[in-house]
Amino acid sequence: MIGRERMTVASQRLIAERTYELTLSGRLVQEMRQPGQFVHVKAAASADPLLRRPLSLCHIDHKQGQCTIIYRQEGKGTALLTQKQPGDTVDVLGPLGNGFPLEAAPAGGRALLVGGGIGVPPLYELAKQLAKRGVKVVSVLGFQTKAAVFYEEEFAAFGKTYVATDDGSHGACGRVTDVIEARSLEFDVLYACGPKPMLRALAERFPNRPVYLSLEERMGCGVGACFACVCHVPGSETAYKKVCSDGPVFRAGEVVL
């Protein structure tokens, strides 16, 4: 069930350039299940900034009653979030959306996880849950530059992990697709989250394969009511899907990218 709660900050730390790892505790954690789901966070107590911010679940810990999100400081809302200290509360709505389908990966099969920048976080919970199901996980994580890299070791705990940076300052030089090609990485199912050009490249590269993509779109409500976040369905003028409530994860081909 979706709920709203003032969750308590357990910890917050800077893990890369302008990138923060925020751990929250509260009863809402027990509702969180699927990797790829997100929470909608209200950063200010007042009307500025007004809207909630969609942030993906990166790590769900039912036992501790904690969840972790990783976010990059971009504008006003995330800037306010960086001020939060342990013991402070954060107004959270969630969990929202439909995440990555675990069942698409056959036990013993191979899953390729491809993340770009701030699209990396939801793949961490995915890697964890896939590994637990006996799926072989290979991760390819792309960042702009060395200072932006995070969670390389954390991913490595679940399987082979490649890092690429645009400027070559860490790992391979180039894009995630270059790494997949160079290493001839094989998979039974591919899961990806990151900038749209990256998602498009993956969808085009692997047509007719089981490829699942997590999309981003500017949101109003986050629950399907405002129609801010729709995308077209191929072959129709009026058919649509909502990123917030039908997604954010779609099978490649399901919606127009």
């Binding site: 979706i2 007004l50 809207l51 500017r218 409500c221 009511a225 405002c226 129609f227 729709v230 009026t238």
Partner: protein
């Protein structure tokens, strides 16, 4: 005695709080959060004759204290509304106000006639002021004669009372309101969104794919209050007020200005529980201010002889 009850043409409301059109879908999403029967009414998303996809994304952008939207009246069209959405809403004990839009007079009339016959539709809300539809749309809402003529034609065919939604993007809102009243409208709803824009500093381009969008949220509240204050003194039909409402205090401010009921839009996105929270908060606020019934508050800010509210707090 129900202190929150208000009576409006076609609408006997158990309380004066309703979600605003376009901010509540057709109720399905919020039915996950609470029983929709607690609401005074529901203003459902605009219906046009044919299904509409609306504008390209991004469709929303945040602004200080507000947001811009350019949804572009996305909706499944009249037939699906009659066959699926409205019947689904019948499970709740709540009157529906059907918001209708069109790009021609004929479209308005056709949609109005059909949708006004649905059993749970108690009133129509004529959206003559959506700033996000390029064809015709805006002219209906800014020229008194055109708005009046449309009102008259819709009134002729409607089986239920007709409320007309006013655009704030006008020089003289009182002239609009009077023309619409004279044309036979049963009530007014106001305000729709103000036309605005945001430009992305990184790209140098408007954030909304549509360029401009409609501004809503707390930022516009003082404009809504002013317009309701002016219009309520100039017409004798009731006003359903909206624009930035977030709390029970805001609701009273709208009543004092001259509204007889209110709608809550953008605030649903911030807090999906905002409508039931306001409904729950109102009685204690009335107590604090020594008010018996919320209907006493209508227009108190300008009524001559009205006593200033005695503050017991």
């Amino acid at each position: 005695m129900n202190r929150l009850a208000v009576e409006l043409p076609g609408l006997s409301l158990k309380n004066p709080i309703m979600p605003a059109s376009g901010c509540f879908g057709f109720g399905r999403e919020y039915a996950q959060f609470y029983d929709l029967s607690v609401l005074g009414a529901i203003m459902i998303k605009a219906t046009t004759k044919e299904p509409r996809f609306g504008n390209p994304t991004p469709r929303v952008a945040e602004t200080p204290g507000g947001m811009l939207n350019a949804i572009g009246l996305q909706n499944p069209g009249l037939d699906k509304m009659l066959e699926e959405e409205l019947p689904w809403l019948e499970q709740f004990d709540v009157p529906i106000i059907a918001n209708i839009a069109g790009s021609t007079v004929e479209e308005y009339v056709e949609v109005a006639e059909a949708i006004s016959k649905a059993p749970n539709v108690h009133a129509l809300e004529l959206n003559i002021s959506c700033p996000n539809v390029k064809k015709g749309g805006i002219a209906f809402g800014t020229v008194p004669d055109v708005a009046a003529e449309l009102t008259r034609l819709v009134k002729e065919v409607s089986a239920v009372p007709v409320y007309v939604k006013l655009s704030p993007n006008v020089t003289d809102i009182v002239a609009m309101a009077k023309a619409i009243e004279q044309a036979g409208a049963d009530g007014l709803t106001m305000i729709n969104t103000l036309v605005g824009m945001r430009i992305d500093v990184k790209t140098g381009r408007p954030i909304l794919a549509n360029g401009t969008g409609g501004l809503s949220g707390p930022a516009v509240k003082p404009i809504a209050i002013r317009m309701i204050y002016e219009v309520s003194q100039a017409v004798s039909i009731p006003i359903i007020g909206m624009g930035g409402i977030q709390t029970a205090e805001d609701v009273l401010e709208f009543f004092y200005a001259g509204a007889s009921a209110v709608a809550v839009g953008t605030a649903n996105f911030v807090d999906p529980f905002v409508c039931p929270t306001i409904i729950a908060d109102l009685p204690a606020l009335l107590d604090e201010l020594g008010i018996d019934r919320i209907s006493e508050c209508i227009g108190r800010s300008w009524k001559t002889g009205a006593h200033a509210v005695h503050c017991r707090a």
